[in-house]
C-alpha cells in the first residue's frame, strides 16, 4: 500500500572536505574492525548456544557508530536501540565488560541482568541499548535537558532506526528538542528495513521533510563511510554543544544480517544481500586507507590485534562468575542490598 519510495536509497556522494590523517583513519578502521569482530564472534556464540535471548547485530552499519562517536567525548551521552552493540563498543564500553554481559556473567557491566538489548556503560555516557523501539529518543531528550540545565558543554545523541520513525515519540521529541533548542543530535540509521518489512511500506514520508517541518537541520550521510559520518558529526556537534539547537543526521546504511540472529532473511532477495559487499564499511575504509598509502601489512596487523583483543576479552568473560540471585533481588532499589 506504500505510496512512494519514502527514503532515497543513494546517500550524499560528496566526499567530505579535508578528511582525517592516515593515522586517524587507521584508528577508525581499527574500531570498525573491533565492532565487526566482536559481533561476528557473538554470531557464532549465539549459534553455539552460548548466548541466549534475541541478539540484533549491526554488521554493515558499524561506520555509523564509529563515525558519530569519533566526534564525542565522555561527557557526551548517547541513548541506543535494540541494535546497540556497535554504539556501546564505539562509545568506549570495554570488551571484557561487553562480552561478560552477553555471556550473562556477574562481571558484565549490567551484571548479566540486561544482555544484548541493554548493554550500557554509564562511565562513558552510554545510557543503554533499549528493547523498546523509539524509547531511546526520549531518554536522550532528557539527557540533553540535563546538559542544558546544568550548563554542561555536552551533547546528547539519540540513535534510532528508520522503522522507529513511525513511532509518535519521534514527533514529540523532535518538537520538544526544537522548541527548547536542546543540545540533541538525532542519528537515524536508515537501513531500509524494520524487521521483515521494507520501511518503504511503513512510512509515507522522508525524514528530511519531517526534520525541516520542525526547523531542525538535516543531513543525509553515507552511513557506510566512516569518514563521511565522522565529518558530518564533527560539523554539527560543536554547534549543538554551544546551544544552536538540535540536528538530524540520516545515515544511509545496510543491514547485512537478519533482523536478529536466526533470521534466515527468506523475505529478502539474495542478490540484494550479495550486493551489500560493495558497500561494506570495512572495505570502503580499507580502500580509502590504501589510497592514502597504507599497505596490507597495516591492515592485517590491525586485524590481528583486534582479533586478539576480542579473543582475550572473550576468554576473560568465559571465566567469569554466574550472577547471584540474592544480589540481583537486592539491587532492584538503590541501597537495598
Amino acid at each position: 500500500m506504500a505510496i512512494r519510495p519514502p527514503i532515497p536509497d543513494a546517500a550524499d556522494p560528496a566526499a567530505p572536505a579535508g578528511g582525517p590523517s592516515r593515522e586517524a583513519l587507521l584508528a577508525l578502521y581499527r574500531k570498525l574492525l573491533t565492532v565487526r569482530r566482536a559481533e561476528e564472534r557473538l554470531g557464532t556464540l549465539f549459534s553455539d548456544g552460548e548466548v541466549p535471548g534475541f541478539i540484533h547485530l549491526s554488521i554493515g552499519q558499524e561506520a555509523v557508530s564509529v563515525g558519530i562517536m569519533s566526534a564525542l567525548g565522555d561527557a557526551d551521552t548517547i541513548a541506543s536501540t535494540h541494535r546497540g552493540h556497535g554504539h556501546a563498543i564505539a562509545k568506549g564500553m570495554p570488551l571484557e565488560g561487553f562480552f561478560s554481559e552477553l555471556l550473562a556473567r556477574d562481571e558484565g557491566l549490567c551484571r548479566g541482568r540486561g544482555g544484548s538489548m541493554h548493554v550500557a556503560d554509564m562511565s562513558v555516557g552510554m545510557l543503554g541499548a533499549n528493547g523498546i523501539v523509539g524509547a531511546g529518543l526520549s531518554i536522550a531528550l532528557g539527557s540533553a535537558l540535563a546538559h542544558k540545565t546544568l550548563g554542561r558543554d555536552a551533547c546528547a545523541v539519540a540513535f534510532f532506526g528508520d522503522g522507529a520513525l513511525a513511532e509518535g515519540l519521534v514527533h514529540e521529541c523532535m518538537n520538544l528538542a526544537a522548541l527548547w533548542k536542546l543540545p540533541l543530535l538525532f542519528v537515524c540509521e536508515n537501513n531500509g528495513w524494520g524487521e521483515f518489512l521494507p520501511t518503504s511500506k511503513q512510512l509515507s514520508f522522508r525524514l528530511a521533510d519531517l526534520a525541516a517541518t520542525y526547523g531542525i537541520a538535516h543531513r543525509l550521510v553515507d552511513g557506510n563511510d566512516v569518514v563521511a559520518v565522522a565529518a558530518a558529526a564533527e560539523a554539527v556537534v560543536p554547534g549543538i554543544r554551544a546551544g544552536s539547537g538540535p540536528a538530524v543526521l540520516e545515515c544511509m546504511t545496510t543491514r547485512v544480517r537478519g533482523h536478529f540472529e536466526g533470521d534466515a532473511q527468506k523475505y529478502r532477495d539474495p542478490d540484494e544481500i550479495e550486493a551489500l559487499a560493495a558497500r561494506d564499511p570495512l572495505r570502503i575504509s580499507a580502500e580509502r586507507l590504501a589510497g592514502m598509502g597504507s599497505n596490507d601489512a597495516d591492515l592485517s596487523l590491525a586485524a590481528e590485534e583486534v582479533e586478539a583483543a576480542v579473543e582475550t576479552a572473550l576468554t576473560v568473560a568465559r571465566s567469569g562468575r554466574a550472577p547471584d540471585f540474592a544480589a540481583a533481588l537486592a539491587d532492584v532499589y538503590t541501597g537495598a542490598a
Binding site: G53, F54, R113, G115, G131, I132, G168, L197, P323
Partner: protein
C-alpha cells in the same frame, strides 16, 4: 486424533474466525507478509488477502486506537502486539477508549476487538520482552482477559474472544507456542469465564493459568507420589474469573495455593486469594499461599531467570506449607 501445536491452534482460530465472519481483520506489525513474529498469522494473507491482514508501521498507540475505531464502525479487528511489554504503549486505547466506550456512551456502542499478545519468560529475552502484565487489564472494568494454557484452549478462547461483542485481551505464553497436544478434530469454542479442573484431587487446590498450569501439574505429580492428592484448576479466564469453581474446589479440599508466572505482588493471584479470604473464609484450613515471580524485573541470565520463574518445587513447598 491429530497433533496440534499451540501456535498452530492460534493460527487455526484466526483462520476459522476469518472464514466465518468477513468483518474479522488482523492488524499488527509483521503479521501479514511475515505471518507474525511468532507465526500466528502465517498463510492468512495468502488466503484472505492483504486488505484483511494488515502490516502496520511501528505505531502501537495508533494501531490500537485504530482497532477501537474500526470496531465501533463495523469491523472485528484482532490486533497483535508483538510482546506484552509493548502493551505499555496501548494502555490509553485499551483502558480509556475500548474498555469504556460501551458504558460511557450509554450502551450505544460496543467494541468487538481482540488484543492478542504473548507474555512470559524462559527465552532469555530480558527485562523488556518477558513481562506478565495481565493484572493491569483485569483491573479495568470493560475489558475481558483470557489466558490459554494449551493448544485446545488457545483455539477455543481465541474463537470466543473474536466472537465476543466486547474488547478481550488474549494472553498467550511464548514458552507454550511450541507445545503440542492431541486433539480430536477442531477444538470447541470455550466459554469466557469458566475454569477447568485439569487434575482432580482432594487434599489441596492449586489454581493456575497459562504456563503455570504445567508447573502446577508437575507439583501435583510429585506430591501424588507422596500420597497427597492435589486438585489443579486452570482458570483460563482472568476477567471474569470463575469464582464459583475456585470456591467449590476449595470447599472440597480446604487448602488453597495460587500459582502464576507474573510477579506475585499485586498479581492476579492477589485477587483470587482476597476473594477466597472473604467468601471462602470458613472453608480454609490453612493459609492461602501464592507462588509467583519475585519482586524484580525479569533477568537476562539463564541462571537468574530459572531462579526467577515459579517452579514445581516452589509449588510443592507452598502446598506443604498450607497443609502443615
Amino acid at each position: 486424533m491429530t497433533e496440534l501445536r499451540y501456535i498452530r491452534a492460534v493460527n487455526m482460530a484466526l483462520a476459522d474466525a476469518m472464514e466465518a465472519d468477513p468483518t474479522v481483520v488482523l492488524i499488527g506489525e509483521d503479521v501479514s507478509e511475515a505471518g507474525g513474529a511468532f507465526g500466528a498469522s502465517r498463510g492468512l494473507r495468502e488466503r484472505f488477502g492483504e486488505a484483511r491482514v494488515l502490516d502496520t508501521p511501528i505505531s502501537e498507540g495508533a494501531i490500537a486506537g485504530m482497532a477501537v475505531g474500526a470496531a465501533m464502525s463495523g469491523l472485528r479487528p484482532v490486533l497483535e502486539i508483538m510482546f506484552m511489554d509493548f502493551t505499555t504503549l496501548v494502555m490509553d486505547a485499551m483502558v480509556n477508549q475500548a474498555a469504556k466506550a460501551r458504558f460511557m456512551f450509554g450502551g450505544q456502542a460496543s467494541v468487538p476487538m481482540v488484543l492478542r499478545t504473548p507474555h512470559g519468560g524462559g527465552l532469555g529475552a530480558g527485562p523488556q520482552h518477558s513481562q506478565c502484565l495481565e493484572a493491569w487489564f483485569a483491573h479495568v472494568p470493560g475489558l475481558k482477559v483470557v489466558c490459554p494454557s494449551d493448544p485446545a484452549s488457545a483455539y477455543g478462547l481465541l474463537r470466543a474472544a473474536i466472537d465476543d461483542p466486547d474488547p478481550v485481551v488474549v494472553i498467550e505464553n511464548k514458552a507454550l507456542y511450541a507445545m503440542k497436544a492431541d486433539v480430536e478434530g477442531t477444538p470447541p469454542v470455550l466459554p469466557i469465564g469458566k475454569a477447568v479442573i485439569r487434575r482432580a484431587g482432594t487434599d489441596a487446590t492449586v489454581v493456575a493459568y497459562g504456563a503455570a498450569v504445567r508447573t502446577a501439574i508437575a507439583a501435583a505429580d510429585t506430591l501424588a507420589e507422596r500420597g497427597v492428592s492435589v486438585e489443579v484448576l486452570d482458570l483460563l479466564s482472568l476477567q471474569p474469573w470463575d469464582e464459583a469453581a475456585v470456591l467449590a474446589s476449595l470447599s472440597r479440599t480446604h487448602r488453597l495455593v495460587i500459582v502464576h508466572e507474573a510477579v506475585e505482588a499485586f498479581g492476579i493471584g492477589a485477587e483470587i486469594a482476597a476473594r477466597m479470604a472473604q467468601i471462602g473464609f470458613d472453608e480454609l484450613d490453612g493459609p492461602i499461599m501464592r507462588v509467583g515471580a519475585p519482586f524484580m524485573p525479569v533477568p537476562f541470565s539463564k541462571g537468574l531467570e530459572d531462579a526467577y520463574l515459579p517452579s514445581a518445587a516452589g509449588v510443592v513447598r507452598a502446598i506443604e506449607k498450607t497443609m502443615e
